[in-house]
Structure formats: C-alpha cells, structure tokens
Amino acid sequence: MRARVLIRPKEGILDPQGKAVERSLPALGFEGISHVHVGRLVELEAEDSSRLSELCEKLLANPLIEDFEVQEIE
C-alpha cells in the first residue's frame, strides 16, 4: 500500500512556525485565517501496513509532542 503520514504538533503545544505563518498573513492580505499549525508529511510504500502505527510511534513522530495520522492513498 501507499500511505501518507501526517504529523502535527500536539494540541496546546506552542508551534512557533505556525504562529509565524499566521502572523504574516494579514500583511499579505489574507484575513480571517487562524489556528495555523505546521507539521510534516511523510509518504511511503509498505508491503505490510500492520506495523505502520508502531513505526510512527517509534520514529516518524515523537508521541510526547506530536500527533500522527496514517492515511492510505490507494
């Protein structure tokens, strides 16, 4: 399977990149946008999807500070 792993900062943890993006938007003429968070996207192909969660917890994300979500692409 092909999968897409979305990794984002956990709710409530300061995300300075997200804040910086959010702060810059009004100056560029984009009003009314809030709650910007910047995360990471990992794409991969796996022969066996059963251990993807474990892979995410061990390597791709740090569960202490990040949430992840595995999306199957096809």
Partner: protein
Amino acid sequence: MTSWGVLQFPGSCDERDALHACSLAGEARLVWHEERDLNGLDAIVVPGGFSYGDYLRAGAIARFSPAMEAVAEFAGGGGPVLGICNGFQVLCESGLLPGALLQNEGIRFLCRQVDLVATGADSVFLHDIEEGETLSVPVKHQSGRFYAPPEQLDELRERGQVALRYAPGQNPNGSVDDIAGVVNEAGNVLGLMPHPEHAVDSLTGSTDGLALFRSLAGVAA
C-alpha cells in the same frame, strides 16, 4: 583517571570540542556510531551537532545507532552519560531522559552566552556545583525548548530532576520553567542544551563548564 568516550555520528559537530573538554578531566577517545563495545570506558558524552543531519527530528535517528543501544545499556547499569545539545535531544528521544526538545520559540538558531543556575540536583556530573551557583555557558541551537507534559513536569520537580535553569530573564528558547538541563532519576544521566565543553578555557570563553567534567573525577577518587 576517568576514561571518557565521546560518541561520533555522521553529522556530529562538537565531538572534538567535547573530546578536548573530557581530556582536561581524564583521558578520552571518540566512539564511532557503529561501535557497540564500550568496554573500559567510565563515562560517555553524547555530543552536540546534527546527527544524521537532524532530519525528521533532532536526535530521532541517532537513537537507533548501535552505539546508542550500547549507551542505553551502559546507562541502565548506572554508567555516567552526559548529553549536550544534540546529545540531550538524542537522550530524550531514546527515553533515557524525560521530556522533549522543541523548536525555539523564536524559531531561529541562537548562539549566545547565558547564565545557568544550578538547582542542587543530585547527579554525578554536578557534585562540584553548589545549589544556586551561576555558570556562564554558551547555548547554540534551533530546537532547545524543553517541554514535558504538566504531570511529568511536576514529577520532575518533585524528584529533583531539574538540574539547571536559565537565569531569570535569560531563557533563550522558551523552555518550560526555564529548564536548561535535566537528570534521570538515578542521577547518572544528565542532559543539557547549553555547551559546557565550550566553557573550559579562558582563552575562548568562560571556564565554568569544567566543573561538570571534573565532578566525575572527584566522585571516582
């Protein structure tokens, strides 16, 4: 005489500086990341830099190296382990220390001399440092904001695991509770974002970092 091993990953930057600092408090050699044999070593430094490019997350890949597996075992047996900057990140990622290091509040990399205040925490690396003592040591990092979830943070404080704090008003990265360094429960593993190995020679800075390296010699003696 303390025999130090300083880990070297592809992408390490401060390993030679750490080697020099250790050599002022014993003898020291580099330990290549593929080495598993730590025989004959009394203490380990996981140095600063960008191990494996710090890709994915600072320290995330280095924790899986053979040398780090050996270090985990070494630490489990009570062996003294000092993680500096990227080394601190590696130790947190590998679970040898609590918490995590996040991107600086100011986002950018920051290189600056700061004052640290010792909390009096019990660690083999801090025996020569009194509670309340101030150390002038440089920081240089982009992901140095210490974080632990509230419950864990309370635990750390209760158990005296907060080892060093940034002096009031000098927190360079937004670390929770001004935390600059923490120890494990047993006190044999210390991690800190500031660089004591860059504070061992008056020619190039302060000498306040020497105490961390010499503390161990005092303990051993």
